[in-house]
Symmetry: C2
Subunit: 427 residues, 2 copies
């Protein structure tokens, strides 16, 4: 049987998982592809660092040229992460006619189009299933199985760290700081968690999902991104008593002829499938005009789940090499990008307001709502202490425009403070 | 742009959906495939029957030769259903070098291997995503995304009719007959519902899922198949009070080096993802050695969802035509089939027993359980009327062997009647 040699750049959790899976499942992979896949060379920063996977018969080097200049190596897996020097590394690999598999969402979200062009010019494959939602095979599924349908919306829980924190807040009654600390202890959150908790990681994934679903190229500046750092335990509890779970959702939705994309905390009705996704798990819901609602659920991160997505890419590239069909774009759906205007984006909202407990406050608030043409379905006032009260409201549908007016006008009242304004998703 | 002509055999719900989607999404399909796809000829039984889709500029005929002998038609969609004459039709089409897309699970489950060989001999594609779980793109996902992983188990709710009936029994407290009648009125069940309610439809789907997951070729005789006809409302309620939902599950599982496959009612813990799949929806859970648990959820039937799966097959075949790579098997994972022995298949069980309400009955039962080495975690006795009582038990893990012994020995007691023995699935 012919052998295809593989190079790895990076040997962290995912790289080790790839190495382990390639060894353990060699028979099945050969059965399917008709080729034996062998890792020949691995580029690491420190060749003397002890590793917990066997690298027998593999060259460990800190010199990328050992891969670049080796004509035997056909496929290279980039799992070093980060934008620089990963971008330069992938560019050099593609220009050396290597097919590239990467899990690098930051890079693909920000420079995917540019790299896809370089890949195409070199007749090389550039694939990145593992960049979104770890072990869930969502990108290839959108390419293959929604090709003839019009996707109306793609939304989901695409960051495991924040979902773990929110699950703990709700199930254990922990505050945000306490839940974050626990997530850090368990390795679900980084020591600097900003990228996850501020919603940036989720936004990068939504950019890639939007490319595949709508053919558009969004940049991070096109999206409103609100993280989970300011979510108060009191609102988690209040949402729960209303029958909702607070989740950090990425939403990309076709409205009229434009795209609305946002990452923000959302109140999700408890009987909605996304409300049942707990801890570090991810789920992506794709709504097609013909097919209706579909949901894909699985582990969002972790060495082996992510490695499985990398392996599915390697198998796909291997098949293309065998068939002589490399150089085709992973996603070749292209469509002009239009962002929607705020008056077109309509949701019910959960509003949480802290106010001085003096007569006339509720009147002020309802007058304000009436003025901007908004109405509500639920309202609860609770006392906080002698001076202050908390009022929570679930509104009927409001546009982003109305919400902005409401926020601006509330800001003018010294005695009312808007603590939270979250979208509400029914079942 | 080059055009690829398509033929349809059958113009029922799915055929009409395919026609509608091809017309509506032509721009997107061309964008992705670089080809225009046009339906040229449709073979129907009655060409004079009124249709609720437009067939302008399409030839309607009752003569298959209009497709067979038309060199312009490259891809044919078979949506007539049934084994004969569908098998002869597909064979003739493949021998005429037409690529075939079908939604025919009965045929693929029973003659898939034979037809795949004919397709291969003619360098033609034979694909059938729509044959399992309607709108859920599960087959292509297993092929593409679990290629390098070892699938340990594939299980799920793969029949919408039975899931609709069971959901109504649980949520509305309807008996089986009442729920079936309602399902028939709403078009979720056929006037002769045997194929669905007896679990045969689900078994065919599990045969195909097993082929893709484990590379094995099971026949319907290799599987134990228990339907939902004998499920009593009382057991649905009792299961509910224990924290479980009764679902008709197909399970195919790797145990040691063999495969266990069964379709039967199962008690599913309410916090298990499969317990939340309601009404006519389907869900398939794939557990991979590396990736862990993943779940794919969506509409299990219906014209447009099923048509979407047919369309994804058409797009896939079109890409292969463009790339010159037709004739490769849809699933090329092959592995020797071994069935497991009953002592290796171990589950907790829910046992429901009707017995005469006389002293010593419970003693008999516990002696029996002890004799076969089984123990239980929950037991509840309720009075039914003056003479009889109902005892329900949730056992600890028992092998199929132990269960068979228990059933045989209970049959010897005239005063104890085993009403139900269902597997139990925790969270």
């Amino acid at each position: 049987m012919e052998t295809i040699k593989i190079g790895l750049v990076g040997l962290g959790t995912v790289g080790s998982g790839v190495l382990q899976m390639l060894t353990q499942n060699q028979a099945k992979i050969s059965n399917i592809t008709g080729r034996q896949l062998d890792v020949k060379t691995i580029v690491v920063r420190d060749i003397n660092k002890p590793r917990n996977v066997s690298t027998d018969n593999i060259m460990l080097t800190d010199d990328l040229n050992q891969i670049i200049n080796d004509p035997e190596i056909k496929i290279v897996v980039e799992v070093m992460g980060g934008i620089h020097p990963a971008k330069e590394v992938i560019t050099a690999l593609l220009n050396a006619k290597k097919h590239v598999v990467t899990a690098n969402k930051d890079l693909i979200a920000s420079a995917g189009e540019e790299l896809a062009k370089i890949a195409h010019d070199n007749q090389c494959d550039l694939v990145y299933e593992a960049s979104v939602a770890g072990g869930i095979p969502i990108l290839r599924t959108i390419v293959n199985s929604f090709a003839a349908d019009q996707i109306m919306e793609v939304k989901g829980i695409v960051n495991g760290t924040t979902n773990y924190i929110l699950t703990q807040m709700q199930h254990r009654g922990w505050g945000y700081q306490e839940a974050l600390k626990k997530a850090q202890e368990l390795g679900f959150a980084e020591s600097d968690p900003t990228n996850d908790v501020a919603g940036i990681d989720a936004a990068y994934k939504m950019i890639i999902l939007s490319q595949f679903s709508f053919g558009v190229h969004l940049s991070i500046d096109d999206m409103k991104i609100i993280g989970i750092q300011d979510i108060q335990l009191e609102d988690v509890k209040q949402a729960d008593s209303f029958g909702y779970t607070i989740k950090l959702l990425g939403i990309a939705r076709r409205i009229n002829n434009g795209i609305f994309a946002e990452v923000a905390p959302v109140l999700v009705a408890k009987d909605h499938p996304l409300a049942t996704i707990n801890n570090e798990n991810n789920a992506v819901m794709v709504t097609g005009s013909a097919v209706g609602e579909t949901l894909f659920y699985g582990p969002g991160a972790g060495g082996l789940p992510t490695a499985n997505s990398v392996l599915s890419d390697i198998v796909s590239v291997t098949k293309n090499i065998v068939l002589g069909t490399t150089g085709n774009s992973f996603n070749n759906y292209q469509h002009e990008t239009n962002l929607v205007t705020p008056e077109d984006v309509v949701y019910p909202y959960y509003l949480s307001l802290a106010m001085l407990d003096v007569p006339g406050q509720m009147l002020k608030l309802t007058q304000l709502m009436t003025k901007i043409g908004a109405s509500f379905s639920q309202i609860v006032q609770t006392k906080q202490d002698d001076q202050s009260a908390r009022v929570v409201i679930i509104t009927h549908d409001m546009s982003k425009d109305q919400l902005a007016q409401l926020i601006a006008q509330i800001a003018e009242f010294k005695s009312i403070d808007l603590v939270a304004a979250y979208k509400v998703l029914g079942n």
